[in-house]
Amino acid sequence: MQIKKDEVVWLLLFIAPTIILFFLFFIIPILFLFVTSFTNWDGISAEFVGLENYTKLFNKKSFVRAITNNLYWCLTAALITVPLALIIALLLAHRSRGWKVFRTVLFIPQVVSSAAIAMLWAAMFNAEYGLVNFLLDYIGFSDYKNHNWLGNVRTANAALIGFSLCYVGYFMVIMLAKTAGISEDYYDAANIDGASQFQKDLHITAPLIKSTFFLCIILAVIFNLRQFEYVYLMTAGGPANKTQVLVVYIWNELSVQRLGRGNAAGVIMIAIGAILLLSLRKLLKSETYN
């Protein structure tokens, strides 16, 4: 489509607010982050220190562990949470009796503050009075009677990532919504061919929501790259920095007035995010059937 000369003015006028806001609240902060990452800015004064912040960060075990942990979060979300959400979405897509109740129950955690969920699970995992240990003891695992799930280097990460996997409601609803748009004709044809429910799920529903499934994986990776609330409230990166993640690490740097180094960590996080997103986009390219 050709844009006429007199339309250009209007075009610019209409997109100007978006461009201005984008620059003000996205480009400028990122530039600021980038520039200050080369300084020892402490909130009051700043001096140029070159690449010192970056070299110090990569020499710190806790920072490298934060990156590794973030990748664990992303990986488990992509490989477990989203596929689990897909399975539940496929089951609910049958519209069996009571499916709306299940859908609501699974989605409820999404409308509860993640801080509240974190506090709830911290209490569940408590070594002295937690429900998890009580139940394990009740079913015969008495070795776990006083196990400190979040305070043990071997179980802290697993407990933290493990419980978060239960929260599949968000992705489940996205995929369920997509199934609603699939034409009944496909299923009618499959019924005539004598396909079982499993075959219909596997050969019709799943392929038709593939693009949404991939979108969910990308969203899950983004969400988990910026994981903060659960880790901060339940372990604060401990014990012994074993559950450290990037945003909590950045938060810690900022709270001790090392804003320059915190910003350098922020730049690294943006770079990791960009690399992950580009890789995923390349990896998960899919055609749309509908």
Partner: protein, 418 residues
Amino acid sequence: MIKSILKLFSVVFISTSLTVISTVASAEITINWPSIWVGKDSKSTVISELVDEFNAANSGSIKVVIEEQTDYDIYAQKLTAQISTGDLPDIFTVGADLLDILHRSGKAMDLAPHVASDSHWSNVYPDGALESNMMGGQLTNLPYELFVTPVTYNKKLLKAAGYDEFPATYDEFFKMCEAVTATGKVCTSQMTAKNAWTSMLWFSQALASAGGPNVYDRGLDDPAFVKAFEVMEKMYQYTTSDAVGADAGVSGGHFLNERTAVFMNGPWFIARYTSDGIPGLHENIGVAPAPMLTGGEGAPGGYVGGKQSSLAAGKQSDPAKEEAVVKFLKWLTTPENVARLSYSSGAMFIVKADLPSDMDRLFIEMNEQKGNAPYVAKTFMNGMGSLPIVSEFPQALSALALGEVTPEGAVEMLKDAE
């Protein structure tokens, strides 16, 4: 025509009246105070009363509004950010670790001219107390709450373990812990979450005992740091199973519910032995100086404590508001009001106040022991003078407690944080 004139006149009259009313209304100065002395804090009741009384006495001219800050650590982090951005509250409390950056920010109100122009503060503060807080000729904070952190122990639980007196050395202390464990109780309350406060206090005691009160001047290479971590390593053998990852609420809760026999915190916790402890707990509590390390440079009876919080104010462009803020700060620092705060909470203050003769027994004991102490050493948090090191302490402590690092390794973690 006349109708139109009357309409116009009415509109002008109403708008003028509204303007006058709003001007009169806005003449009241509002002072915002994000306060940590709210909720469960032992000072909350009297602070609330003081604010109400001040507002009543200055009705129509000044109104102090408390913004409740229920989490001390989150408050400290928020304040740190506010100092950096220069967006300081009208009035606030500030810990010793943030005083330097507060001064350097140039955004805090300089109270020196007000101290000089009025005898109030020179009368209520001990000699030299304000001068020692001045930096570059400016006074950006008023020292307010003090603290000491003796051991508080449950006499009933210790007696059941065969102990009538609190041990004087760590060797005896750990023997006592064995005996307490044998009775089915847990010896100490520990924690590693947030700033690991109560465990940090134990560490500070062990540090002063090993290296003397000036240990911080010699830095992390001093062997006293390793010795203090050795004490902590052993301490975690006699604590609750949830100590790693526990916060002050959990750590204090165990002692309040008689699950643990020994606890360390400041005098502000005294009121909670009665309000939140199991019935009869307060009567069973004893106070003692921390044990000593055999061969250490500290002295028996040595205490750990210092400045807990200071009062400060954000710089004001409006002289009337500045005066209002100063007026409220004076209100908070009158000897009568400080005595009320101290009486109700058990907290200690630097302001000279005539405390009632029926002050809490534990407060009196702490005060006496402090008076007899050969020194009051700084806590690790205040003495190190480095936010990154202090911030890394909980991680180093949890690594030590879980056997991930040796005491030497824990010191290395602190060095690495810098």
